[in-house]
Amino acid sequence: MANLTINGKPFTLDVEPDTPLLWAIRENAGLTGTKYGCGIAQCGACTVHLDGVAMRSCGISVSEAEGKQITTIEGLASGKTLHKVQEAWIAQDVPQCGYCQSGMIMAVAALLNEKPKPTDADIDEAITNICRCGTFQQVREAIHTIASA
């Protein structure tokens, strides 16, 4: 059993303590917006926020996540008001297949929280997610658009 707080809501999940947070979120909490890509914290498709910090949920056990505020892509918007990153992603048509974009958006949201006006170098350092469709150009442009708003 694990007691998790996901998107502000309490969840009591029937999982072993070493279950990766990713799978508890997807299979036990039923929130499938967070994606599986590699399982070894390389690709970033599973990125969520733990107490506001972007983390790769495939590499964290549920026991490590207990007591922390977990935010997934489903919890990024405030009610029906989308987060500014989601809005920019729609306006600038960032996603291609979109599979990596939940993780990409969570990583960018955390970056902008820390640095509202990131430089290209800041983006290079903070955004290390893999996108096989190659949306990097639109990702960078959208971040700068948000920063200059």
């Binding site: 072993e16 279950t19 990766p20 799978w23 299979e27 036990n28 039923g30 929130l31 499938t32 917006g33 967070t34 994606k35 599986y36 890509g37 590699c38 399982g39 070894i40 390389q42 690709c43 498709a45 997934t72 892509i73 489903e74 990024l76 918007a77 989308l82 989601q86 992603w89 729609i90 306006a91 048509d93 960032v94 996603p95 291609q96 297949c97 979109g98 599979y99 990596c100 974009q101 939940s102 958006i105 983006i123 290079d124 350092e125 955004i127 290390t128 997610n129 893999i130 996108c131 096989r132 469709c133 190659g134 949306t135 990097f136 150009q137 639109q138 990702v139 960078r140």
Partner: protein
């Protein structure tokens, strides 16, 4: 589920329809008095031809047969239909017909296959006609109601106007009447100069759900009572499953069943996928690896190298003059051997499919690039007839050619068949996905060029040795044993024609098929042929003491479209002006998938091995550009894919297995390594070329030629990872 998933049928109409046509699956047919049958969508709205459904509120639902996988075709195809339909673009939505529905209606939506950059170019004619047909019927219905000639009416933005009187109505209001009309036998398509929506970079129709986690990919499918399966197929291709000891994992949490999947694989079915995967890893498995376990990258390379020997048999793909004789008697010769490795598609979403099998029905939910091939796989694996099977396409997390294959669909059905009545979601681990790709084929190439005393190129011998994709996947497409696709980019004519005139030319392929299964990998044979030819062209230019651009231009007089994109890219990069201090340029061109493309790069090299790509430019002439914003994204994305393969890709073989297991050993470019891609579109009109793939081939040779300009060293083998050359 979301709006891009298959249309739900109107059950009542479906029953009547089935009885009326006396055949299995049909989208509902009304039985009107007089006039043809009205076909209805799930909500009861009428079809105006197979491609268009109009709802009373003027919403237009456009049917899309090809698969969206990120490349934007769903939006582009909808633009093509909407252009001719003259509907309100802001009220357009889309849906996929299922392959089962298509089969039942005599393939009214044509080919579902989405590969070879065909999505737009191979459907543009009939989908535009689908839109035009619906427009004519809607206008006719309004004219009939007004009792005026249709020729006095026009349509724009879903509004029909009777020009003389100024009366208006909307598509939604006349849809019912239009659906009862006999479709016109022939319709005239617009002149391209009158296009309003085609050529416009409108936003994609499928973006919003991708930003909120709401988009359903195959991996996200949920069905009541569903169980999850993890699978291991024999890691040596061609090997078999000998035995497994299920007692060892029977008591592990969540495990429901351990099943054999064909002769080669075993799957664990559990309540969650995490439990299934954990138990599978603990399952003792014995493989019968067979003789292929002796194969290694070294043994494959040796076998391919033997094929470069002219004494070995080879297929001739392109020839004029007598290259061998001309080379023998030439004043100067240049020779080089290049190679290109296996590559995994590594789609972000690993292969998966969800299957529900009962005694009289088998349904599958999956991301696929070829709904009809997936459907055929379901029929075969389930043993059920077509009317009892169907495939529901969901969004694939990347395709790149991998999801044109149906191995994962077949496996899901084989597991579900052993657990009748229970929906089974089969998901491959990333490790399984790396171990069981359908890999970019492996090749080597020996090229010999010869010059006369005045440094004119008089002969070129291009000898490929290596794997044929068609031999493995589509043997019926071989021509007397030859794989014509092996010559993509260096072919005599057609959609991937060679762009140079050389008086004595010999292009040939010594086919050698190792046991590693090849597949169509974005760009396919253009990838290696473009590297080989364009890097060697650079070698020839330097051997002749000529500028690489000027050297090419002299050979391209008879290939104006190839030359035009090369000129466009040269102008954009500023070829005739000096590069910044420490920055060096490379250039390349090729034709593939009916489009002419060229690329140019500016790089700097530090410590002899660290490459920084400062600028990279692409030009493309695909004939027509349907959505420039999406073309720009496809070009940039293709460069990420192509350069990732150049720097970090490459799958190696040891003991008959692929050695790379995950993104730690098969890396992919990140944002910090990717320069802005500058795309120049020069559509010349009059033909329809592809977009998703052609440009991938020119990124690598442009960078490799720039590396030579910077260092004086040639890189002739991919990936650069193995030569300790990295991105800075």
């Amino acid at each position: 589920m979301n709006k891009h998933i298959s249309p739900r049928l109107n059950r009542r109409a479906f029953v009547i329809g089935t009885a009326a046509v006396g055949a299995g699956l049909a989208i509902g047919l009304d039985l009107p008095f007089g006039g043809p049958a009205v076909v209805r969508a799930a909500d009861g709205s009428p079809e105006i031809g197979a491609w268009v459904v109009v709802r009373p509120d003027d919403t237009v639902v456009i049917r899309i047969a090809r698969s969206e996988m990120g490349q934007g075709s769903l939006t582009g195809l909808a633009q093509l239909v909407a252009e001719e339909l003259e509907c309100d673009w802001t009220k357009v939505t889309t849906e996929y017909p299922t392959p089962g529905q298509s089969v039942a209606r005599k393939r009214v939506w044509g080919d579902f296959s989405t590969g070879g950059s065909r999505g737009i170019r191979s459907s543009q004619d009939y989908v535009r006609k689908g839109g035009a047909t619906a427009r004519v019927m809607l206008i006719q219905a309004a004219a009939d109601a007004w009792k005026v000639p249709a020729s006095e009416c026009r349509a724009a933005n879903s509004v029909i106007t009777h020009t003389p009187s100024g009366r208006t109505t909307t598509y939604g209001k006349v849809a019912e009447a239009a659906a009862k009309l006999t479709p016109p036998a022939d319709v005239k398509l617009k002149d391209p100069k009158d296009w309003k929506l085609i050529g416009k970079g409108v936003n994609r129709l499928d973006t919003a759900d991708k930003t909120t986690g709401a988009m359903i990919y195959g991996v996200d499918v949920k069905l009541p009572g569903m169980l999850n399966a993890a699978i291991k197929d024999c890691p040596v291709f061609g090997g078999k499953l000998k035995s497994f000891d299920e007692a060892k994992i029977a008591n592990m949490k969540g495990v429901k069943k351990v099943v054999k999947v064909g002769d080669t694989a075993v799957a664990v079915v559990a309540d969650t996928w995490w439990h299934a995967k954990t138990a599978l890893e603990a399952l003792p498995i014995v493989w019968d690896e067979g003789d292929n376990a002796k194969v290694s990258s070294e043994s494959i390379a040796k076998w391919l190298a033997e094929g470069l020997d002219n004494a070995q048999p080879a297929y001739v793909g392109n020839k004029n003059g007598d290259a061998k004789a001309a080379i023998a008697g030439a004043a100067k010769k240049v020779e080089a051997v290049y190679s290109y490795p296996y590559q995994n598609h590594a789609t972000m979403e690993p292969m998966n499919a969800t299957a529900l099998y009962t005694a009289d029905k088998c349904e599958v939910w999956c991301g696929t690039q070829n709904g009809e091939a997936a459907f055929a796989a379901v029929l075969e694996a389930s043993g059920l007839p077509a009317e009892k099977c169907d495939v529901h396409k969901v969004m694939p997390g990347g395709g790149f050619g991998r999801r044109g294959q149906t191995d994962y669909v077949r496996q899901a059905v084989m597991i579900a068949k052993q657990m009748a009545g229970t929906p089974i979601k089969l998901l491959w681990s990333r490790e399984e996905d790396m171990a069981h790709g359908r890999y970019h084929p492996i090749t080597q190439c020996k090229m010999t060029g010869a010059f006369d005393a005045n440094n004119n190129l008089i002969a070129l011998h291009y000898r490929l040795s290596g794997q044929s994709i068609l031999f493995s996947l589509r043997p019926e497409a071989l021509q007397n044993g030859m794989d014509p696709a092996a010559f993509q980019g260096v072919a005599q004519s057609g959609e991937a024609a060679f762009g140079y005139s050389v008086p004595n030319l010999l292009v040939e392929h010594a086919m050698r098929n190792p046991h590693v299964p090849p597949g169509f990998w974005r760009g396919v044979n253009v990838n290696h042929n473009a590297i080989y030819m364009e890097c060697f062209m650079d070698e020839l230019a330097h051997a002749a003491g000529q500028d690489p651009l000027e050297f090419r231009r002299k050979l391209m007089g008879n290939h104006p479209k190839h030359l035009a994109v090369l000129n466009a890219v040269a102008e954009k990069i500023g070829w005739n002006t000096p590069a910044p201090q420490g920055v060096y340029r490379g250039i390349a061109q090729v034709m593939g998938y009916g489009s002419y493309v060229a690329g140019a790069a500016e790089i700097s090299v530090t410590e002899g091995s660290k490459i920084k790509v400062h600028r990279i430019v692409a030009s493309t002439d695909p004939g027509y550009v349907v959505n420039p914003a999406q073309v720009e994204r496809q070009v940039a994305g293709s460069f990420v894919y192509g350069l990732s393969a150049l720097f970090y890709g490459g799958c190696t073989v040891k003991d008959g297995k692929i050695e790379q297991t995950n993104f730690d050993t098969y890396n992919s470019m990140r944002i910090n390594e990717m320069p802005k891609v500058e795309t120049v579109m020069v559509p010349s009109g009059g033909f329809w070329g592809g977009v998703g793939e052609p440009t991938i081939g020119i990124a690598a040779p442009a960078v490799l030629n720039a590396y030579f300009a910077a260092t004086g060293k040639r890189i002739r083998h991919v990936p650069l990872r193995d030569q300790n050359i990295t991105l800075a």
